[in-house]
């Protein structure tokens, strides 16, 4: 294994980490403010990817596709919030799980009905195609580097939103005491819709951004959703900082585990069984990380409240 390969894998890990952060940030925001567990977050990721793929196919513009993905996912999120989610805030988690599971069925089959079962493809825009030469002689795809940059920018934007704007103050106040801010004259229903749409938009953006790396198909959201859950459990529910740190940890553990574990097993056994055992255990690495964090800190790295 060369240092260049290792560095590339670290970058891949960062890239998948920031994409997980986009998903996890929305989930953790929604949970933090409304106390809602939303399984349908993966469906909004899928909505974003499909919107981007069809707009890019029709217009050829990647930027327009991103805008469409954001708008479609945020719009779908706001609609779902008004029709269904709104009724779930004062229910227990079991009802929330079931209702959002039902939403997944509706979204997945609806998308299959509209677009068919075959995957769509979203191309990397030409101005982000090719590779860049990084210091140390690493050649890395420009698009993936751009993903890392976008992810970090969104993280900074969320931090700004949360600390420096009126909406951020309301969100934080909503996390702490919803009755009090309702009594102060903030329309809490509207605030919830905005927060839900914001989270949904982030998921849709993530879906559109990873569209060119993987194929756009029905059911693409759920694996990411479950990884985002792992991220939130590690980072602590309700904490955006936790979502970022957790996302990067999970992304790096996953990619480096796939690289290093087979190599590690090769020290003990023959190459064939080392490869199979290594890949089997590499697919479990992030869950082992999660278990370890839980033993150490049952509420996650940055989760203050149980």
């Amino acid at each position: 294994m060369t240092p260049i390969l290792f560095a590339e894998q670290v970058l891949n890990g960062l890239q998948s980490g920031v994409m997980l952060f986009l998903m996890a940030a929305g989930l953790t925001l929604i949970f933090g403010v409304m106390g809602l567990i939303n399984l349908a977050h993966g469906a909004l990721f899928m909505v974003g990817a499909f919107a981007a793929a069809s707009v890019a196919g029709a217009t050829g513009s990647f930027l327009l596709a991103l805008v469409a993905a954001l708008a479609a996912a945020a719009g779908a999120g706001a609609m779902v919030e008004l029709l269904v989610i709104r009724r779930l805030y004062d229910r227990d988690h079991l009802d929330q799980v079931l209702a959002t599971f039902a939403l997944i069925l509706i979204f997945s089959e609806g998308t299959r009905w509209l677009f068919g079962s075959f995957p769509l493809y979203l191309d990397v825009p030409p101005w982000l195609g090719g590779t860049v030469l990084l210091p140390g002689g690493i050649e890395y795809p420009t698009y993936r580097l751009a993903l890392i940059a976008v992810g970090l920018l969104v993280a900074a934007g969320l931090w700004w939103l949360n600390t420096c704007t009126r909406l951020g103050i309301r969100i934080r106040a909503g996390e702490n005491d919803r009755e009090m801010i309702a009594a102060l004259g903030v329309d809490i229903g509207k605030l919830y819709t905005v927060v839900f749409a914001l989270g949904a938009g982030l998921a849709g953006l993530a879906g559109a951004l990873v569209g060119p790396i993987q194929s756009v198909q029905v059911g693409m959201g759920e694996p990411v959703l479950i990884l985002a859950f792992v991220v939130i459990v590690i980072g602590g529910i309700g904490s955006i900082k936790g979502a970022l740190v957790g996302g990067l940890l999970v992304g790096l553990t996953d990619t480096l585990g796939r690289l290093l574990l087979p190599a590690l097993f090769r020290l003990f056994t023959d190459p064939a069984s080392a490869a199979s055992a290594g890949s089997a255990f590499a697919s479990m690495a992030i869950y082992i990380l999660m278990a370890a964090v839980l033993i150490w800190r049952p509420t996650g790295l940055y989760g203050a409240r149980a």
């Binding site: 079991l94 599971f101 069925l105 479950i226 089997a280």
Partner: protein, 327 residues
């Protein structure tokens, strides 16, 4: 309460009469459907012990279902290829005998439930839901990437496993076995609810702090409930794999966990016969809607949403009133 008992008796009678009718009318497919429903009901009875009695929202019960399935797959595949499972200090052979397979399936799932419980019960609430879901995915991906037993393609068994004195290849006889297990599990669940353990668990679900104050450890009660629950669901997994003569990672998928939970909820959480109503309703709906439209899951989603939003207490709740049957 008497209304619910009447309903339960009617349901049980239906589970005997409908396949009996199918046998008389020579409709083996109906028997297979009924077997499927009964096995799903058994899986959901398992979840109902953790969810209804203990309030543990486990979104990872497919782990136990799948482990039961793979217990059957691994033992039977070694038996059909005449290769020992382990050949070292001693020799461990595969088997085609259902009783042994059931024992292994239940024991392996119970062990898995104990391990998962030890870790995930350190937390509660939403964390617990997410962690059980994550452990489910871990098992799923492990099964996919472990090539020894079929990996992503799964494992096929040529002939259904045997039970002494019965011809398990005959659909109605295999149905009988599954129904017997379901009745046994329902009886066990009913006994468990009235046992000191069941009462303590019920209390631990409602007010953990008070249970702790009288000297019982709620976490331990939850853990025991999860182990019993896992063993029952694991057993149903072995039966399900035997029904299809096939086991694949899809038995471990998180959709499976969701479906098992849907059975419990549609029927009614914590109702003794809730899982039976839910599973029968689901299988019937799946069969009927599958003929109506390829996109039947949309309708299923809408029905499920309606049950959650408007019909609290599930189908049994609609018939027998919304009181939680805390007997």
């Amino acid at each position: 309460m008497s209304r619910e008992r009447l309903l339960n008796a009617l349901l049980l009678a239906g589970l005997v009469v409908v396949p009996g009718w199918a046998l008389w009318a020579d409709e083996p497919f109906t028997i297979t459907l009924a077997t499927r429903a009964v096995i799903f009901a058994l899986a959901a009875v398992g979840l109902n012990i953790a969810l209804g009695m203990g309030g543990l929202v486990s979104l990872g019960h497919a782990v136990f279902f799948g482990i039961g399935g793979y217990a059957m797959g691994v033992l039977a595949s070694h038996a059909q290829s005449y290769t020992p499972l382990y050949d070292g200090l001693f020799t461990l052979e595969g088997t085609k005998a259902m009783p042994v397979i059931w024992l292994v399936a239940a024991a392996a799932s119970a062990l898995a439930a104990w391990l998962i419980g030890l870790l995930s019960l350190r937390t509660s609430g939403v964390y617990f839901i997410m962690i059980t879901l994550a452990f489910g995915q871990m098992a799923y991906f492990f099964a996919i990437s472990w090539p020894a037993y079929g990996g992503e393609d799964g494992l096929s068994i040529y002939v259904r496993n045997g039970f002494p004195g019965l011809n398990t290849l005959d659909p109605i006889q295999f149905y009988g076995i599954c129904l017997a297990w379901l009745c046994l599990a329902l009886w066990g669940h009913a006994r468990l609810r009235r046992s000191p353990f069941g009462l303590a668990l019920d209390a631990a679900r409602q007010v953990p702090a008070r249970v702790q104050a009288v000297g019982l450890d709620p976490k331990r009660l939850y853990l025991v409930a999860l182990v019993i629950s896992g063993a029952v669901t694991g057993l149903s997994g072995a039966l399900f794999a035997d029904l299809n003569r096939f086991v694949s990672p899809s038995m471990l998928s998180w959709q499976m966990s969701g479906e098992i939970m849907v059975f419990v909820i549609i029927g009614g959480v914590a109702r003794l016969f809730g899982p039976v109503v839910g599973a029968v309703f689901y299988v019937a709906l799946e069969h009927w809607l599958g003929g109506v439209s390829d996109y039947w899951q949309i309708i299923l989603g809408v029905v499920l949403l309606a049950v959650v939003l408007f019909g609290r207490g599930g189908l049994i709740g609609l018939v027998c009133g919304k009181e939680r049957p805390d007997a």
